[in-house]
Amino acid sequence: MNRRLLWPALALVALLVLNLVVTPSFFELRIRDGHLFGSLVDVLRNGAPTVLIALGMTLVIATRGIDLSVGAVAAIAGAVACTHLAGGGDAVTGMVLALLVCAVLGLWNGFLVAVLGIQPIIATLVLMIAGRGVAMLLTEGQIVTVDDDVFRQVGAGFVVLPVAILISLAVLGGVALVTRRTALGMLIESVGVNPEASRLAGVRARTIIWTVYVFAALCAGIAGLMISSNVNAADANNAGLWIEMDAILAVVIGGTLLTGGRYSLLGTLLGALTIQTLTTTVYTIGVPPTATLVFKAAVVIVVCLLQAPRGAPVPRREPEVVGS
């Protein structure tokens, strides 16, 4: 494993061990009705939307961008699918429709960033605010409850493992494959590190930026479907609320710099799982709600302290700019 990923991985392991100490049954896995159950499976399943969104976010951040709108896009996806279902529509069309809408929203973000040249944080802030309004407009501010067996599968279904986990892993595998087997990964990094040099080398920076925003929106869309399917309802207000922060945090914990360039999908996965485990830990070890945030802060700070470079710092400064 990459050295950069050592600490996030250790943090994750430490959290899991903590859980094991407090709840001895934490690592237990049981098969019931052909489904795999257990706390670890819960962690993975609840973390699936964050993993997905963080994957999209990783690519966006690698191009020096950021996408704040993913939470709102997730809410819109849930709202589109559920209102379609509640109106008597069929689940598959509903979900396809939702993802189409998300693709359009991704195109929109990409347009603002790549074509108009608006700073990504502001460009996506627009959709972050307005998007939730759109989602609420669709649901008229109510929580739309649905009851559909196909739709339920996305977030709560099982094929031995929860479907949500399988989807996230599939997307992770797909992205890893596409970015490694094609030149996309390298071109994304080069646009992120030095946009001007990339332009002069003939890289289609605009298309690439556009692609990553669309991809991020699609990931957010799938995550939104999972979130709403998990509770069989579209909650335009709360679905994916603040998930953009979790996703960015996952990316950053995974060792990808917010300044763009080199990224690590595996790191992002570790980051997202760490965050989800932390949340679950808070519930299982019984941290009182009033102390939850102090606990989280303590964990983050401890991890940072451990991670801090010690010992003989031979090259004192990493030559982030040209060496020699």
Partner: protein, 325 residues
Amino acid sequence: MTALAVPRVPSRFLPVIATFVVFVLTFGAGSVRYEGFASGQIVANLFIDNAFLVVLAVGMTFVILTGGIDLSVGAVVALATMIAAATLRAGWPAWLTILAVLGTGSVLGLGMGLMIHKLRVQPFIATLAGMFLARGLCFVISEESLSIKDPVFRAVATETIELPGEVTITYSVLIALAVVGIAAYVLHLTRFGRSVYAVGGSESSATLMGLATGRVKVGVYVISGFCSALGGLLFSFYMLSGYSLHAVGLELDAIAAVVVGGTLLSGGVGYVVGSVVGVLVLGTVQTIISFEGTLSSWWTKIVIGVLLLAFIALQRLIVHRQRDL
């Protein structure tokens, strides 16, 4: 627009000027559309209602100019209101409370700055930890909201200053404007300020040029922590209460104000004045919404988004036009 286009302004001022022009245009549009909009008091209210945000945006400007980010400001504001309310309730004199609040904010900022500089933690993570910590401490102090009954705080909060033309402002406005003035002075006329820009332009170059980049990086987070605490005090004047859920998401408003004001998130480019105009822009959007008065909750969000977009698009347009001339 045309009036401003005539004298050739240095292109680095363009984003700020463009933001200002757009602000004036929007305000004009509001005045035409809504009765009672075009009054001096509305402008004054923009400052009264956003004094704390101005102060936060100033602190955030320092941080962003170095290429960093501070997510803790909203939480520190809440913590400040909480500490103020709790200590005043415990009978502390107002001055001691104020010192305690400002001290806490600065120390938190120092902690985050050291984490970022010494431990080389990414600012996003360090300040997020700061945010959790500050918000968490609020809950530890008290889960419920506490009102502030201290006479000094009440006086500062309620007393107004009469300006000509029947316009009144509060002391908070004066404090905020003073902070802006001091910040502009520090950024442009002191070595520390210029180093802030240098670090944002290229940290490695600044180091090789022999600047104390470490001190600058830690310094901006201390400043931001201090500004957050001061903003928190202004917030306590505004609300006369301490509450752990105050100012949720305010950090995004502060960042948005700074960026709308033409500061680049990548660092090295921008002005405090821009951030102030950015705050005014966000405030105007809010004012327009409340004057409209018929928007449902969701249309409110959509309209805020659309207005924000219109602002930025117009700003880009003006900047582009000017550059091409």
